[in-house]
Structure formats: structure tokens, C-alpha cells
Amino acid sequence: MSCDFGAMVDEDRGLIDRRIFLDTEVYTAEMERIFRRCWLLLGHESELTNNNDFFTTWMGADPVIVSRGVDGKIRAFLNLCRHRGGTVCRVDRGSARSFLCPYHGWSFANDGSLKGVPALDVGYRNKLELSEWGLIEVGQLAIYKGLIFATWDKEAVSLVEYLGDMAWYLDCMLDRLDGGTELVAGTRRWIVPCNWKHAAENFIGDSYHGPFTHGSVFKVPGLGMDGTRPMDRSEGYQVSPGNGHGVGIWLAPENDCGPGYGHLAGVDTYMGIVADEVRKRLGKFRADRVRPVHATVFPNFSIEFPFASIHIWHPRGPDRTEVRDLTIVDKAAPQAVKDILRHHCMLRQGPAGTWEQDDMDNWAQVTGSASQTTSRTLMANYQMGRGFEFRKESLPGLLDNKLSDINQRAMYARWRELMTEPTKGERDLAKRAHVMDVHPERVDFVAHDDEAEVG
């Protein structure tokens, strides 16, 4: 390793070497060490209502197909023909029992198995073992309350363990009502010329930028957060629930904690109507008072509440991020409420959102400046609130006040852990080196073991 990733993040001092945002070596290692090991959000179960439904997306730099098989089971595969590496599915979504590589016509069933190879007899003389050349399936796939996640790592901890205490906050949007949530049709995608981490860190805990970056919306009635309950009466916290995740919440005051956020009239009425059921599921405290505002589930799944505008930050190079934007709502909500939320998200979020459009130049510039000669020598400051973290019995995780870099520090600490923790390949190499050192007579056996494993 020529680049010392461990030295690039010093969360104790709140300093980050800005080369982590633009150096190709860092990026390449991230794809392997972070995006091939973490649980990544693929989409929502309601995108695959019927058997044979599928959609395509990314896991880090790997294109994937997510499909509900003929048997109703959801699986995810690398969107890659095992023959020469062609793309077996070229569309965004749809319904298909099989996927056909346009190059030489290899076809794969939606359970991943290789079904058809042209000229199998005259070309391959029937010597091709079809079962060895199926689509590459993800290491694990799991669904958490409607959200489909996957990881390439067969040995990764379970999704529930990975989410940890973050699930307690995610449930505020995912587990409010019987039937859960559903996706609003229409996936917005756009490319921001920034490093994926700059987007993820903005959503994980950056309340600080709100009044400045988004200064304009607070001056236009209807665009800001103005409503029946002013936000400055609420306590605000950044919460770091562990594993590099982070969420910003308001804690509505006990004596003024009506349902909802107070700035969406129709939605608050609806939330009042369903409040009892939500209390039954989430408990009175969480239902009435805990209001998540923004969050990032490590590494690249971010949320803007209420209900939610979900952003998945797909890395497409050190300085390019493709945003995949999904909007989810309570499935049981009346259409009128879904419409209010949809319009709320469209007016604020997305490339044309009155809030979000002002973020992108900032992210592009903080990424871009990491290429500048002098700038590269200067550490970035993540010191806000350092040493003032605290715990609160009612809220899982480590906390600080609303204005703090606590979550960003936790995110980069997790980044450093993963970037320096050896991968399985490196562990095997180290094991072999050790055996060569201590038991030179066993090297042949170790090499043989490795081959068996790869095969």
C-alpha cells in the first residue's frame, strides 16, 4: 500500500487530508474496501411488485440487476455477461424472465443461471459447463422493512446488525403503519461533479450549512420550514448511532408535540389521524417527539425527511457522483397526502429543487479544490463539537447539539477502519507469508487450498 489511508483521517483531532476526495488510488481502494464490503441500498420492494419485475442500479462501481424471480424471490446480480463482459440488461426497469447479452447471445434466467449459449454444440462441442458460467450473485441480500439491501461480502454481519441503532431512527419513516411504505414511481437521476463522500457527509450531519447554503428558501413563504411549530423551539441533535451512520433529529417539546413537522398542513392533519397507530408501533415518545430530518446510512444512502426523499450516491469516479433519487410514502396514506408529499419533494429536492440546487456547486468546489497544489497540503476542518459529545437515555447513540461535526467524524472514522482493515485477499496473502516463514514445507498445501477456494 503506497498510500497510507490510516493517516489521512484523524477523527480525534477533527482533521481530514483532502486528498481522500480526489486521489485515484484512494477511490480505487474505496470501491474494493468499502463498496464491496458494506451493505448498500438497492431500492424498494415495491419496485418489484410482480414476479419477473426487475430494475438496474449500481453497487459502488459495479452495475447490478435486481430481479424478482419466477419463484418470487428477490435476487441481485452483476449486470455482466460471464463470456466477454457484455452488459446483459441495458434498460432501467421492466419485466423479464431472462436477460440476453446482445454481443454473442448468451442468455441468463432471472435466477442467474446460464440457459442459452449459441453454438454450444458446433462451437463448444458441448464442453462448456453451463452451471459454472451463471451471473455473479451478490454475497448477501436482505430486506429491511421494504428497503432492499445487498453486500458483495458473504462474511459481512447481518443487515440488522449492520444498521444497529440506526434502525431505531429509520423506523420513524419505515415502520409507522401497517403495510409500511411504497415508492412513488419515477426515479430521478443526475450527475454531480463531486466526490460521493461530500454528498454523504452533507446529509449525515451538516445542519451548519442550512441557513447559509439554503438562505434563500427561508425568505420565501412556503419554501422554508415555516409552519405551525417553529423549529427553533425544538431541541435539535446530531446522533451518531454507530457503524459510521448518522442522523439529525428534532426533539419536539413535550408540551407542543403535535404530529408531524408543523410545516405541511395537510400532512400534519393526516399524521394526527394515524397518530395512535404510529404510537402503537413506535411507542409514544418516538411517535410524538422524535423527528428525523436528515441522515446517511454508511456509506452512500442518504435521506431527507419527512417520509422521505432517498438519495443513493453512486460513485462514478473520484469527482463524479450519480444521484439516484427515490421518494417513499406511507402505503396506506390517502392519494391526496401522497400528492402533497410528492410536490413537497419536487419543489425542494432533486436537481431543480429549490433547496438542493444550491448544494451542488458547493460539493463540486470542495471536491475540485482537492486537486489544487496548495489546497492539497491543507487539512479540512471537522472539529465542531469535538469533545462535547454526550449520551441521552431516551435516544440511542452518541449525541451532540444540532450544530456539530460529530456524525461526519464518525463517518470518516468508519471509513478509516474499512480502508485499513485487510480484505480477505490480503488476509490470505498474509496467512501464506506467515506459513512460508514458519512452515516452509507447507507452502504447497496453502497454495493448493487457495486454488480450491477460488475455484
Binding site: 419485466s95 414511481a185 430521478r188 443526475w190 419536487m346 436537481p351 456547486d361
Partner: protein, 170 residues
Amino acid sequence: MNTEILRRLEVEEFLIREAELLDQQRYTEWLQLLADDIVYWAPVIESVEDRRQTYNRVGELHDMAYFHDTKKTLGMRVERLAVGGAWAEIPPSRTCHFISNVMVESDAGFELTVRSKFFVFRSRLEAEEDTYYGSRLDVLRRTDGQFKIASRKIILAQAVLKSRSISTFF
């Protein structure tokens, strides 16, 4: 034939003047060209495969769109650009709205259905460049001897938008 050419010229003239207002960022005047009940929206486009057929699916009215505005929310967007702190336009972008391929699809007298293509270049900051292109389907309404835009559907041709933001209008 003559009437058709004259009508197309009249429509083209209107659309070109409208585009000029956008390039000059004279948004208050632009708003005056919009009918009070305007539906102004830009659905997303996704490629779909179904029963072995592939096609591009354009979002419907109840789907998520890049924007889906009324005159009121367009007014809020315009006001926001003027109040200070709308950083996607500080300093202001330099845009060129090219409008072409104007076709009057139908003319019911009171309202006309018009298709056109747009190509918008946005130059930002020093050398940042974004391009937006696609088709529009307008309903133009004749009101007091002039056109008002009664609805506009904007179909951006890019499935993944290659621009960081949309801070102009189409």
C-alpha cells in the same frame, strides 16, 4: 397553406421571444406569459423492457418529476432567485435557449397544441458547462390577441441528467 405558415411564424415568434426573456433572466416578465392555471412539468424518462419490447417510458402526472409547478410555485421559484442567497445562480449563469422544430399540432381556435425542441446551454462560474435538451409539448391559449402558455410538458431526453442542477426554466 399561407395561413398555416403565418400561424407557425406567429407561434415561433412568441416562443423565441419567450426564450430571450429566460436568457436575459427577466423572469417577472416571463411569468406574465403564463396562464394562471398553467401546469408546467418535466417528467423523468426511463428505459423499460416488457414482453421483450423495449421503449422509453415518460413519467405520468402522478409520478415524481424534475419539477411539477403551478403558477404559484413558479412565482416562488422566481422570487427565490431575487431574494439573495440562491447560490445556484450566484453569480448568475449565462444561458442560451435554442428553440426549434416548432410544429403546430392542432388549433382549436381558443387553444393550440404546439411541439418544439429545445437545446439549452448553461455556462456557469468560469468554465462549468451544462447542456439540457429535449422536446416540449405546449398548449398555447389565445388571450386578448396574444398567447399565454396554458400548459407545458418538458421531456428532457437524458435518462440520467448530466447536469448538477436545474436553475433555469425551459
